[in-house]
């Protein structure tokens, strides 16, 4: 399994990192907060940590710590537009149920 990005998501990430002027890639993680137990973390990565799993998808390097990977392995990160709003979306096959907002989930 792995973490992948859709081409659209990768284009946006590359654009953001270029604009930001620094960063080695993207960090995905899971935090134990939120109304349904777990919450996604999506950050720029300036450094890699020991034990990080590294993936590459459409030219974007993605880092995930092994503990988080268990919850999100197989996830495809997409970029979507909903009305005026736009942003990244986790298509995570491990999710059993998510809260209405979709920001936190359960496996």
């Amino acid at each position: 399994m792995a973490i992948t990005l859709t081409e659209k998501a990768a284009t946006h990430v590359k654009n953001y990192i270029a604009k930001r002027g620094k960063g080695v890639g993207l960090r995905l993680a899971v935090r134990t907060t939120g109304c349904s137990g777990l919450a996604y973390v999506l950050e720029f990565a300036d450094t890699t940590n020991e034990g990080d799993m590294a993936f590459e998808s459409h030219g974007v390097r993605v880092f995930v710590d092994p503990k988080s990977l268990a919850y999100i392995d197989g996830t495809e990160l997409d970029y979507a537009r909903e009305g005026l709003n736009e942003g990244f979306k986790f298509n995570n096959p491990n999710v059993k149920d998510a809260c209405g907002c979709g920001e936190s989930f359960n496996v």
Binding site: L84, N85, K89
Partner: protein, 621 residues
């Protein structure tokens, strides 16, 4: 499903606790809202993909309120209730608004700020601006999928306290938490990342729809200081459209047009002007209501020629601003272009020639102010790590308090970085004085009459003491938005009084630059005026004291002594009527001298009196 943005390392927000913040450019002609998404500042467009919101509000008789393009559609049919350029009325009294009688509005001269009678009742410019802000807020909340924690709103650098306060009030009315008011040129500089540079002096050239502003900024240790502003409040892109329109009338030898044809040709003129930004030539074609066809070839060279004088009109204030700042073009490290009209290549060329360097044009000049405001909002909302410095602003004019004789005691000097708080001690002028009135003023001159009055308040309940014994600490506090609050506290009794300055009238930028220039031009006069006033205060005070002493203890004087004192008193009164502060000072000293032995005798007498009839034991303890 919520859509996520990429956060800075370690700065991810908990679910439902995103710190959503926006930057708002509340413009005279158009307004915009921007935010930082995944580290990138972007302008938020409406459902139709339009980034700009025309700053136009229309009040219907049924109480319906339309804003933006919807309101713009009614501008011609219902001018009385369709309000444009409301920003010009913010924090202004009727007498501050030039050409008010030429506008189609029913102005009401309310104290403090003008109001306008509309079909939906009497409305203030603050309420009108709030309607614009409400639309932008709704747009932002839809686009960001949540409630905003706050907004940074931009204001012109020359906005005074009244105008800033009015802007803040409008935001509050629109349900927005104002994180900071930011100067427009500063926001533009931030959008270009100039705040990351070490230091330097920058010029911001802002040619909007109907106004031109030039600002000279100095960046030093993370602080943008506004060195000078200048401009023309009646010059903008619209004037360029009008020149094209006139050119068309001339070329096509058109007879006077009806209103519809005028509007048609004005609209076409604008289109053609915009076309010529990217194309060397284009055609002007229009069918008039008379069936007449207008078809002309226009080139960018013709456009440059017919608008040459307008471009020159922007360079005159630019030159003045540089002169006010005491700089030459060689001192300018970068030039930022703001406002849609700066897209015209011949303007960019003129600016490049003037400053002898290429101006910064790679950001959309319509959006650059909003983009910078969004970057600041993102930092203030706490989405960036500590290494990013907070931007500081400075106060544009000194703040002070009136002292005896109509003099200004400056408490916070001009260009002090904000937020700031400074205190100064004052005292009573008369024996037994129990109240003190404070007059807060803004300006660079030495006399109150030459500065601008901001507010007055009183401190009552001071315990009666001899003149000069009370210690009254006056504290001026300016918050990060440049808004002032003043408090006064008598130290021994703790009585307090305070005021937030919501001044009643505004100054134009011309007045501000005028006031600054005057403070330099009149430096010597001001110094003399101050010296004279100080001596006058001193003279009045000593005359009052001597008169009181003679009244109380006149019996201690011999007739000769009394005659000498009266002569000195008269000499002093005479000197007081003149304007020579040296002569006045001499007369004060003469009176002091004439009363020396009298004062000593009074002292002895009062000591004797105090001791009379008391046992030694009582006074030695």
């Amino acid at each position: 499903m919520a859509l996520l943005q990429i956060a800075e390392p370690g700065m991810s927000a908990a679910p439902h606790q995103h710190r959503l913040a926006v930057g708002i450019d509340l413009g005279t002609t158009n307004s915009l809202v921007a935010t930082v998404r995944s580290g990138m500042s972007v302008v938020l467009s409406d459902e139709n993909g339009r980034p700009l919101l025309p700053s136009i509000v229309r009040y219907g008789a049924d109480g319906q309120i339309q804003v933006g393009y919807e309101a713009q559609a009614h501008q011609c049919a219902d001018p009385q209730n369709t309000l444009i350029s409301v920003k010009r009325f913010m924090g202004r009294g009727l007498k501050d608004i030039p050409h008010a009688h030429e506008m189609p509005y029913k102005f009401i001269d309310a104290p403090g700020m003008v109001q306008i009678k509309t079909a939906a009742g009497i409305k203030s410019p603050v309420e009108m601006s709030a309607e614009i802000l409400k639309v932008l807020r709704a747009r932002a909340e839809k686009a960001l999928g949540g409630e905003l924690v706050g907004a940074v709103i931009t204001v012109p650098a020359y906005f005074d306290d009244a105008q800033r306060q009015a802007t803040k009030d409008a935001a509050r009315l629109a349900g927005l938490n104002v994180l900071r008011l930011l100067n427009e040129p500063t926001a533009a500089a931030v959008a270009y990342g100039l705040d990351n540079a070490t230091e330097g002096i920058y010029a911001v050239y802002d040619l909007g729809g109907g106004t031109f502003d030039i600002s000279i900024l100095r960046l030093q240790k993370g602080v943008f200081e506004v060195l000078a502003t200048n401009g023309d409040s009646a010059l903008g892109g619209d004037d360029f459209d009008r020149r094209v329109f006139c050119w068309v009338l001339e070329q096509a030898t058109l007879t006077p047009l009806n209103a519809n044809d005028t509007r048609l040709l004005m609209g076409k003129s604008r289109e053609v002007k915009e076309e010529l930004t990217t194309h060397p030539e284009t055609r002007f074609t229009a069918m008039l209501s008379t069936g007449e066809m207008v078809d002309l070839q226009i080139t960018s060279r013709i456009l440059a020629e017919i608008t040459q004088s307008l471009v020159q009109k922007t360079l005159t204030p630019t030159r003045k601003a540089l002169r006010d700042a005491g700089l030459t073009t060689a001192d300018i490290k970068g030039v930022v272009m703001v406002g849609g009209a700066t897209r015209m290549p011949h303007i960019q060329r003129a600016v490049a020639d003037f400053f002898k360097q290429e101006p910064l044009t790679n950001l959309d000049p319509d959006k650059v102010v909003a983009l910078g405001a969004a970057i600041q909002a993102n930092v203030l909302a706490g989405n960036k790590s500590g290494e990013d410095m907070l931007l500081l602003d400075v106060i544009p004019l000194s703040l002070g308090i009136e002292t005896m004789g109509g003099l200004v005691e400056k408490v916070i000097p001009r260009n002090a970085t904000i937020p700031t708080a400074r205190g100064q001690d004052f005292t009573t002028y008369k024996d037994g004085q129990t109240a003190m009135s404070f007059h807060v003023v803004q300006g660079e001159r030495e006399l109150v009459a030459d500065c601008r009055s901001l507010a007055r308040f009183e401190l009552r309940g001071i315990p009666p003491m001899v003149a000069g014994a009370a210690r009254i600490r006056v504290t001026f506090q300016v918050d990060a938005d440049g808004l002032l609050s003043v408090s006064a506290r008598e130290q021994s009794s703790g009585v307090e009084a305070a005021i937030s300055v919501k001044p009643s009238y505004g100054l134009t930028d011309d007045q501000i630059t005028g006031m600054l220039a005057a403070s330099r031009d009149y430096a010597t006069e001001d110094m003399l005026a101050r010296a004279l006033k100080e001596q006058q205060v001193e003279a009045n005070s000593i005359l009052a004291a001597v008169a009181a002493a003679i009244e109380a203890d006149g019996t201690l004087l011999t007739p000769e002594e009394r005659a000498a004192i009266v002569a000195s008193q008269n000499a002093l009164r005479q000197a007081l009527a003149g304007t020579d502060h040296h002569a006045l000072k001499a007369a004060i000293e003469a009176l002091n001298h004439a009363t020396e032995s009298f004062a000593a005798r009074r002292m002895d007498a009062s000591v004797k009196q105090a001791l009379t009839g008391q046992k030694l034991a009582d006074i030695s303890t």
